[in-house]
């Protein structure tokens, strides 16, 4: 049995594979091999919709302490003083094409929709501003990542939106 997962963070996707090996796990991260020994979890808790665990692992012979918080679509990891947020990339749903830009424009954080600059059916080009959202009195403009046509709008001016809410859905332009 092999186990593998693709995790995306900050525009990079990492392929992680783990297989049982002796008393532990043999793992590869983007091809680089690691050995994972003992895994102990302390203090497992539910915080809102997240499952939060403190893990003590042995990686390549070194003890490692990590805090992991898992929500439905994200894995937050704090290790060695740094924090990362991973999204699972699902190959079955064309996640492999994500590098070329996504057809969905999502709210980067909870906030208020200030302006919607496009309408359903509009043709847009990559980089074109689509929606202006505001959080903590700062405005940010969200732009199209790809050329395409506006298929659906999930944003109306004045509406409060959650992080990850799909604000604009684009149908990619035919190539």
């Amino acid at each position: 049995m092999s186990a593998q997962v693709k995790l995306r963070t900050g525009g990079h996707t990492l392929a992680v594979a783990v297989v049982p090996d002796g008393g532990g796990l043999a793992a590869t991260v983007d091809g680089a091999a690691h050995r994972v020994g003992t895994i102990v979890a302390t203090a497992t808790a539910s915080v809102g919709h997240a499952i939060v665990e403190e893990l003590v692992l042995e990686v390549d012979g070194q003890p490692l302490r990590a805090v992991v918080a898992r929500t439905r679509d994200r894995i937050h990891v704090a290790v060695g003083g740094d924090s990362f947020v991973f999204e699972r990339v699902d190959d079955a749903h064309g996640g492999g094409a994500a590098g070329a830009g996504s057809g969905s424009v999502v709210a980067p954080m909870p906030g208020k929709v200030v302006k919607v600059l496009v309408a359903v059916g509009d043709a847009v080009t990559a980089g074109q501003p689509l929606v202006v959202v505001e959080a903590m009195k700062m405005e940010t403009t969200l732009a199209a990542e790809i050329d395409g046509t506006v298929r659906a709008l999930g944003a109306t001016p004045g509406a409060m939106v959650d992080a990850g809410a799909v604000l604009v859905e684009l149908a990619p332009a035919a190539t």
């Binding site: 092999s2 186990a3 593998q4 995790l7 049982p20 979890a41 290790v79 003083g81 699972r88």
Partner: protein, 495 residues
């Protein structure tokens, strides 16, 4: 004075509640609907909801705050910083309601709050000013004349300004008219007061400020200086005391000037006189903040003075109880502000639930926090989460302790500036004390996190494969099965 209403939120409301308790006073919290489960509410003996999330309808609603004070039989109001802290009309309303205002006289707030009046007051008191000029509304011709006299680059600033609003840098005359118009527009929108003035831009200045503390019996002391040059968007993120280039002679001059400025407005309570220090060692009055500062912990760590306690005792009419000669700062103290913001996206604020939180500790480490795990950071307010401060025998020791403390700190959920702060502290120019207010744009212009995600991705994959991923069976201390057993239930990917 027995019950103190804290008209604020977040870490400073928690801090003030501690000060109240140190004196046996009962702290009372106010909160908006977004802050119902905030730590500052739990830190108080009583709490009143003062309105919905937008600050204007809650923390900035005078009637609601005063009604909360009446309902809880509070006899004093501490404003913290921000919100109502530098609002003379609110201070007057508090006093008008028969309550003690824990702050300076409203007249001092009003004078120092108007930058032009503050400049005039400081000048009269013999305090050196940044060369500048008042501008009549729309008079571009005389503005050009004044700017030429001052010499470019210049700053256009709002008379009612603060926090960088209504402020523009002008490199040459061609940009002046447009900058004046933009600053006037912004100032009108932010402060309902479009008056602007010109200031010569000091090249590579340090931001150095002097903490003063005065009672109602004529005692006015200073608690030394702080350097706060590390700023983004005109807001400080790292502050320390003493200033790395301070000399006894310069300190004597600067604290004398601060003293004179504070005296000139009959200052009482805690206040801060801000200066720009140029590369030749000349300094210029910038403004006076008539409130407790965010960065007050570094002064407390170095002097041992509890400034909130001092404010409360002064407000109750007690004498300060110590003189200038009793103030003997020790060692070095430094603070870093932990913000929910993304240093890779122009420090754009972040928000949302705190999923996991670990705050640091250790010798010489102090944490002033306004969050806890499970609390949702609201989008409506300043995204300051906590302040981590460290004291050391010297500057290097203090910075080392702070760097370790920031490495220990874990905030999962919103994006934070933790890694950015650590990189600033590690920067050679910062370590050498070569700081100025453009430090970040000069030395860390396009910051990217140095850490590689490989190890974290491995941890994420291992954690995802564990049975607890689907269990969600609540809190508890457990020993988990070996990887052998764990892998039997692996569900991610693969075939």
């Amino acid at each position: 004075m027995q019950r103190v209403l804290i008209a604020n939120r977040g870490e400073i409301a928690v801090r003030i509640a501690r000060g109240c308790r140190a004196l046996g006073l009962s702290p009372i919290a106010v909160y908006s609907e977004a802050d119902r489960s905030a730590p500052h509410v739990a830190a108080a003996d009583a709490a009143v909801c003062v309105g919905p999330a937008p600050a204007r309808e809650s923390y900035l609603d005078t009637k609601a705050i005063l009604a909360a004070a009446r309902a809880t039989r509070a006899d004093a109001v501490h404003p913290g910083y921000g919100f109502f802290s530098e609002n003379a009309a609110f201070a007057e309303a508090v006093e008008g309601a028969g309550l003690v205002w824990v702050g300076p006289p409203p007249s001092a707030i009003a004078t120092m709050g108007d930058k032009l009046a503050a400049r005039a007051t400081a000048a009269k008191a013999g305090v050196p000013l940044v060369p500048g000029s008042e501008i009549a509304a729309g008079d571009v011709a005389s503005a050009k004349e004044a700017a030429a006299r001052l010499g470019y680059p210049i700053l256009v600033k709002a008379a009612a300004g603060g926090g960088g609003k209504g402020m523009r840098t002008v490199a040459s005359e061609t940009e002046l008219a447009e900058a004046l118009a933009a600053a006037t527009r912004e100032a009108t929108a932010a402060f309902a007061d479009g008056r602007v003035y010109l200031e010569k831009q000091i090249v590579r200045p340090r931001h150095v400020e002097v903490q003063v503390l005065g009672d109602r019996h004529g005692t006015l002391v200073h608690l030394g200086e702080r350097e706060c040059s590390i700023q983004r968007r005109h807001q400080k993120i790292v502050e320390e005391t003493p200033c790395p280039v301070m000399t006894p002679a310069l300190r004597a001059q600067m604290t004398d000037a601060a003293h004179a400025a504070a005296r000139a407005v009959g200052y009482v309570s805690a206040g801060t006189v801000e200066f720009l220090l140029d590369e030749s060692g000349r300094f210029y009055f910038l403004e006076m903040n008539t409130r407790l500062q965010v960065e007050h912990p570094v002064t407390e760590l170095a002097t041992g003075v509890d400034m909130v306690v001092a404010q409360l005792r002064i407000a109750a009419g007690e004498p300060l109880g110590f003189a200038q000669a009793d103030v003997r700062p020790r060692g070095h103290a430094i603070e870093a502000r932990v913000y929910a913001e993304d240093p890779q996206q122009s420090f754009f604020p972040s928000a949302g639930p705190i999923l996991a939180l670990h705050e640091p500790s250790g010798p010489g480490v102090r944490v002033d926090s306004g969050i806890r795990a499970g609390f949702t950071v609201p989008i409506e307010y300043d995204p300051l989460l906590s302040k981590v401060s460290a004291w050391g025998a010297d500057r290097r020791a203090a910075i080392d302790r702070l760097a370790i403390a920031l490495t220990e700190t874990i905030v999962l959920g919103p994006t934070t500036n933790l890694a950015f702060l650590r990189d600033v502290l590690a920067h050679a120019a910062f370590r050498a004390g070569n700081t100025h207010t453009d430090f970040l744009s000069e030395h860390v212009p396009a910051w990217r996190p140095a850490a590689r995600a490989d190890l974290a991705a491995l941890v994420a994959a291992v954690a995802s494969a564990r049975p607890a991923a689907r269990g969600a069976d609540g809190a508890g201390l457990r020993t988990e099965p070996t990887p052998w057993e764990t892998l039997g239930r692996w569900r991610l990917g693969g075939t």
